[in-house]
């Protein structure tokens, strides 16, 4: 199936799914669908990397299969595992009745296979979006495991043979760039760097996520966040934090983001003490408390 019919189509459909993509993002998402290549998204935390995968799934009525990566993730958690407890039960239940050959063939069948996200995504016959989240957190060995899946969309299980994808999933990999991924993985992927959006787009995003916010306050909020990003901070506020801030202002019923309001709620957007101090100094706010 085709995922999107054109870059413009990708943009409108993602927007309908609640994700405001810029032209480059829409074009790359469209290309990932057309070329059938995985999409590697890099960028700071909280700019909507995971959200893009969810939006693609929503806008194309596909199911999202998610593989969350972490240090120590292995084949058994990512790909498949034999349900050996059940195999043992089977052997015990049929002890003595059947020949070894039969038992041996009997316990390595679909019935005893535990399918993990990668295998699930490949075997699904309906449209699927496979999200491999925070791929930089895994060990280098798992990257090797991903290579076969990402380039040929097939998995080799020694006892069963090679399982090829019935229908190519739309694969999205996200990374916070804490580690350089290997060239082999990067070569197989399309690359997209998501960065902080410009002021207009960010205001639209905040307003679409928090519709109760007044437009004037949204403008002030976006301007302040843009100002904060220009400072040398350890962690610049991302879109997720802008949205949190907007929700905070709604909850506190603040109708005007003046200096006192900024100083009082700065903790929502800045998460380091030194960043906080710097922002107070640079924006010349009266110190809260």
């Amino acid at each position: 199936m085709t995922w999107f019919s054109s870059p413009a189509d990708a943009e409108t459909r993602l927007e309908a799914a609640g994700y405001l993509a810029d032209a480059a993002t829409a074009t790359t998402a469209y290309l990932a669908g057309v070329l059938g290549k995985p999409l590697l998204i890099e960028g700071p935390a909280g700019v909507g990397k995971t959200e893009l995968a969810k939006a693609v799934a929503r806008s194309t009525d596909a199911e999202l299969v998610r593989l969350q990566c972490y240090e120590g993730l292995d084949e058994a958690r990512a790909l498949y595992e034999w349900n050996y407890k059940k195999q043992l039960l089977r052997i015990q239940a049929s002890a003595g009745d059947t020949a070894w050959e039969e038992t041996h063939d009997g316990i390595f069948t679909e019935e005893f296979l535990l399918s993990r996200p990668l295998l699930t995504a490949i075997r699904r016959e309906e449209p699927t979006v496979l999200l491999v989240d925070e791929v930089d957190k895994t060990d280098v060995e798992v990257e090797g495991l991903l290579l076969e899946v990402l380039s040929d969309f097939q998995v080799t299980i020694p006892e069963l043979g090679t399982v090829a994808a019935v229908r190519r999933p739309f694969v999205v990999l996200t990374s916070n760039a804490t580690r350089e991924l290997s060239e082999a993985v990067k070569r197989r992927c399309l690359f997209l760097h998501l960065d902080y959006p410009d002021a207009d787009r960010e205001r639209d995003i905040v307003l679409s996520q928090v519709p109760d916010l007044e437009r004037k306050v949204a403008d002030q909020l976006v301007a302040t966040v843009a100002r904060l990003r220009e400072l040398e901070l350890k962690k610049a506020p991302s879109i997720a934090e802008s949205i949190d801030w907007a929700r905070t202002l709604i909850a506190l019923e603040i109708g005007d983001l003046d200096e006192a309001a900024v100083a009082g709620t700065l903790g929502v957007v800045l998460k380091h003490a030194s960043d906080h101090d710097r922002a107070v100094r640079e924006l010349r706010l009266a110190r809260a408390r």
Binding site: A23, T27, L35, E42, R179, L190, H193, R278
Partner: protein
């Protein structure tokens, strides 16, 4: 040039600039362009970027080269109908550069910058280079366009005040208006530079410009040839870099977690298999942490290098038992107390810069004196468990080198290294005493972020 020709030349240029573009990626790009079509320049750019660029640090290089190989317009674009494209020796063209035209252009520029219209800014940049950036009648081999000349004539920085006033009228607060005006003037300057590059490329061939004007990516840029904007960008890179290094180190430590054979446990475990050691047991490896003493030259041009290295070392402080830092020009001054945990990078840099004065008595670099003073004032700094790291270009103004003093320092420490930010081919030229010092303390060339992070990774 044919479409395929430009594609191949573009890919070649990217490889020349250090982007590892494989054949497969080139083919992907062609397939992608087949899917999106060539009708829209931004879409073509996005398609190329998605398939060929695999690291964000390479993006500026990619953009510069893309603008060169796929320029926005050729010559004067659609306005070329009335004017000749090149003005050499054409009186009609030279008349266009006059005071009235300059005033008119500056007025339009203020309008466009105040409104922040991107298209108008682009057009004015093209106009400015065409009118004021041309240097007709120059000899063959010299380019006849100059962004410098154009910017000198138009001098957009002088217009900042007017733009600020215009922005204030729209209701922006003063400080924000000033910042916005500065940003827009900067953006326009970049547009002028881009347009003159494009014109020079038309005249002298794209390959020539691609070779000479495209700057290396940030992590390959020499510390000694950095501009102010690069320095700011670098400072932002320090923490992500330290985090990447720390992640890599932790993973490698985990990989070699197995230490030496634990003989007792192995023999004891072999009891259950009748005395045959079926499995070996190992002692856990104790993480080995060094005390690091950094001694850095903060004079003149090497100061940037010293500051980056200090920041990186302190960002990685968890990996060391203890870090002490000293700066010198011709006198030694301890700066460890500036690096408080969780301190703000910008503050630390400011304090460091302020404390430079205390490291200098006469202000001329004197390595010999610095080493003697260090041994005299801080004899407790170096011990058998500490490592000494010296940063500097080993240019000591032909003064006494005090090699024995350095030999003592190196002898007192467990390891000693010297990082030199100069290219190896410049060592021993002029007043550089690289070989003399390198004979006492192993000297390593460390010109850019890549080399620096490799070095820090190796010593940990």
């Amino acid at each position: 040039m044919t479409l395929l020709g430009s594609h191949i030349a573009f890919v070649e240029a990217l490889r020349g600039a250090g982007l590892p573009v494989s054949l497969a990626e080139g083919l992907d790009a062609v397939t992608a362009l087949g899917a999106v079509g060539w009708h829209d320049r931004d879409t073509v750019r996005a398609a190329y970027a998605a398939t060929l660029v695999k690291r964000e640090a390479q993006r500026p290089t990619f953009d510069t080269l893309f603008d060169l190989y796929f320029p926005r317009l050729v010559g004067e674009g659609d306005r070329a109908t009335s004017d000749p494209a090149h003005g050499e020796g054409d009186p009609a063209a030279r008349v266009r550069d006059n005071a009235a035209a300059l005033t008119a252009l500056r007025e339009r520029l203020v309008e466009a910058l105040t409104a922040g219209e991107e298209q108008a800014m682009r057009d004015l940049a093209v106009d400015a280079v065409a009118r004021f950036g041309s240097m007709p009648g120059r000899g063959p081999g010299l380019s006849s366009w100059s962004a410098y000349t154009a910017l000198q004539r138009v001098s957009p920085a002088e217009l900042t005040e007017q733009i600020v006033r215009g922005l204030l009228a729209t209701g922006l607060p003063e400080e924000q208006a000033r910042r916005e005006a500065g940003r827009r003037v900067g953006a326009w300057t970049a547009l002028v530079e881009e347009d003159s590059r494009r014109r020079i490329a038309e005249e002298k061939g794209v390959e020539h410009v691609a070779r000479t004007t495209v700057r290396p990516t940030l992590d390959r840029l020499d510390f000694l040839s950095m501009r102010r904007t690069d320095l700011e960008e670098m400072r932002r890179q320090i923490y992500p870099l330290a985090r990447r290094l720390a992640t890599r180190l932790t993973q490698e430590h985990h990989a070699h977690r197995r230490g030496a054979l634990d003989f007792r446990r192995t023999v004891r475990a072999s009891m259950s298999t009748g005395g045959v050691p079926m499995a070996t047991h190992h002692k856990p490896k104790r993480p080995h942490r060094t005390e690091l003493v950094v001694l850095c030259d903060v004079s003149g041009s090497v100061a940037n290098f010293a500051q980056f290295t200090l920041l990186l070392v302190f960002a990685l402080r968890d990996q060391f038992q203890k870090v002490r830092a000293f700066t010198f020009v011709d006198h030694v001054h301890e700066v460890t107390h500036h690096f408080r945990p969780g301190a703000d990078v910008a503050d630390v840099m400011a304090e460091l810069a302020a404390s430079t004065a205390q490291a200098a008595l006469w202000g001329r670099t004197n390595y010999g004196r610095a080493f003697t003073k260090f041994a005299e004032l801080h004899p407790d700094a170096l011990g058998p468990r500490s490592s000494l790291l010296i940063l500097g270009d080993a240019r000591s103004n032909y003064s006494d080198l005090s090699l024995p003093a350095l030999r003592d320092l190196a002898g007192a420490a467990r390891h000693a290294w010297w990082l030199n930010p100069e290219h190896r081919r410049h060592w021993d030229t002029g007043d550089s005493a690289a070989t003399a010092y390198g004979g006492v303390v192993p000297m390593v060339e460390c010109r850019n972020l890549t080399q620096l992070s490799e070095f820090v990774h190796d010593i940990l």
